[in-house]
């Protein structure tokens, strides 16, 4: 028997630009989630996401080699190879799914992968608490 889950509200966690244009999200705990989620848990999730995005955009030797190789092959190498950024994005999607499974879904919450929102926000959908219906 499948039942419906109604969306009660959506919370948007905005980007944090204090370190420039790198993709980081604010770790401030939104008040709407206070009743549903532990502050530490939330901050842990956002902090891990921030670290993953930092890893994707890191200016290290690997990204330089990839960039130079791409330039030398007139950028045709990207037709067959996946960029480092894309690899990390896949990791992030997996992490979010895992977090949804383990922590957020049991509390009636759903994290939307920021890439689906143009890396602007982390959308947290709050589902109606079933204990409402009596």
């Amino acid at each position: 028997m499948r039942q419906q889950a109604a969306v009660a509200a959506k919370v948007f966690i905005q980007r944090d630009y204090t370190n420039g244009t790198v993709c980081q999200f604010q770790t401030k705990f939104p008040s709407e989630l206070e009743t549903r989620l532990d502050k530490q848990q939330f901050e842990e999730t956002v902090r891990t996401l921030n670290n993953l995005y930092a890893e994707a955009e890191k200016l290290g030797s690997q990204s330089y080699i990839e960039g130079c190789l791409a330039c030398l092959t007139a950028y045709t190498v990207f037709l067959c190879m996946e960029t480092h950024y894309e690899k990390v994005l896949k990791k992030i999607t997996k992490y979010i799914q895992e977090q949804n499974d383990k922590i957020y879904a049991p509390r009636g919450l759903l994290l939307t992968d920021p890439i689906e929102r143009g890396l602007r926000v982390i959308e947290v959908t709050i589902f109606e608490d079933r204990s409402l219906t009596r």
């Binding site: 509200a9 959506k10 630009y17 955009e57 200016l59 894309e86 759903l110």
Partner: protein, 466 residues
Amino acid sequence: MMKNCEYQQIDPRALSVSPASAPQSPAETTAQRSRRKWEVFPGRNRFFCDGRIILASQSGVLPLTLGLIVVTCGLFFAFDCPFLVEHLTAFIPVIAAVLFVFVVISLLRTSFTDPGILPRATPDEAADIEKQIDTSGSSTYRPPPRTKEILINQQVVKLKYCFTCKMFRPPRTSHCSLCDNCVERFDHHCPWVGNCVGKRNYRFFYSFIISLSFLTSFIFGCVITHITLRSQAGKSLVQAVQESPASVVELVICFFSIWSILGLSGFHTYLVASNLTTNEDIKGSWSSKRGAEESGNPHSYNSIITNCCATLCGPMPPSLIDRRGVLPPDEAISAASASEIELPLFTAKNDAHMCTQSTKDVLERMVHSSDFHGLCPPGTPKTTPLGLDDSGTPAPSAEPSPSAGCSQQRGRQSVAAPCLALSRSSKRDSMHSINPAFRLASPSPSLSRTSFILGEAPDISFIPLP
């Protein structure tokens, strides 16, 4: 019964293709044609190859650029190379060919790559931003303020609100009026290339102009050498030119191109070294306008090499607009037909964690969950339409099904005034939720009203029940 309410993971992507329950009519499923997101893209872009290639709305003078390059190189290979190969070395056409290929590939990559377009804010996001702005000051409705100040690397930067995309633009993002898109790290809209130059295609643009400078200089030098060699073999200059008229054409083209291309290359080399964009340089965003106040570029790494590496060899960010993604079927369908998304509910597992923990309450909820279907407006077993979309297309979500839940609570008499107020307005909203036309509009005021109403719902859920 508990087994049936087992938790199922929600995957937003799967929602669009998840099989709906029995009540959905077969006519609706066959009528759903899967559409890709590029077909409903709001900006002024053109797409080819089923969304793989993106171009600006006007191709500008791209055909002219390509034409000039191809014609000049063609003339060079046809008329100058035979002479030069004979008198100098065979490497000349090889070098020219390599440069030519590089130039054309860079040009095409610049033109056909998404420059870093930011997808527009979903209606929920836009409503959330408007709500935040409204609550932070005046009580009456006024248009969102145009700027927001933030700190970047200890420097105050103003973020502007984009009325078209309905969001505060990230730093270094600008809205291109020609393409009607917000583009990240917006440099400029280049008519020669027929596209905006932004974060994702700046390195292609830079390699295009650098390689083009080399190509034009090389051809210019070779043609001069050719004419010089011809006139040295006992003939006059005029005679030499008469023998090879194509060379004059090439000379003229190259002469005028070199000034502009070399100048542009030099300018962009300076921009790359100081991690600036053309937009910022022209506007003087980081120059100290306010006299003694120091306002350097907060995005610069303060090292030329790092700036160059970061801009040109940095990691390649992905396209944010997901052109080839498939639209969830409910948005692909026109307003006339009614389609609904059904979500599995995480009741059993949820409730164990929720505040009400007595088994009595769990059993009561199981009983009432079956009642819920009966109360679902307008009395059909269909689920309330939901708009859990993951694309940029307008679709209101937050359908007020707590309305039904609240009407149940009203009967319990355990919750008084707040619930009464809710149910009154929720009746109105439940009428809205049936109408499919409402779902596809983007009603900002009513959405904020709805979210205001729903904002109270969580409070009610935690009033302890007797």
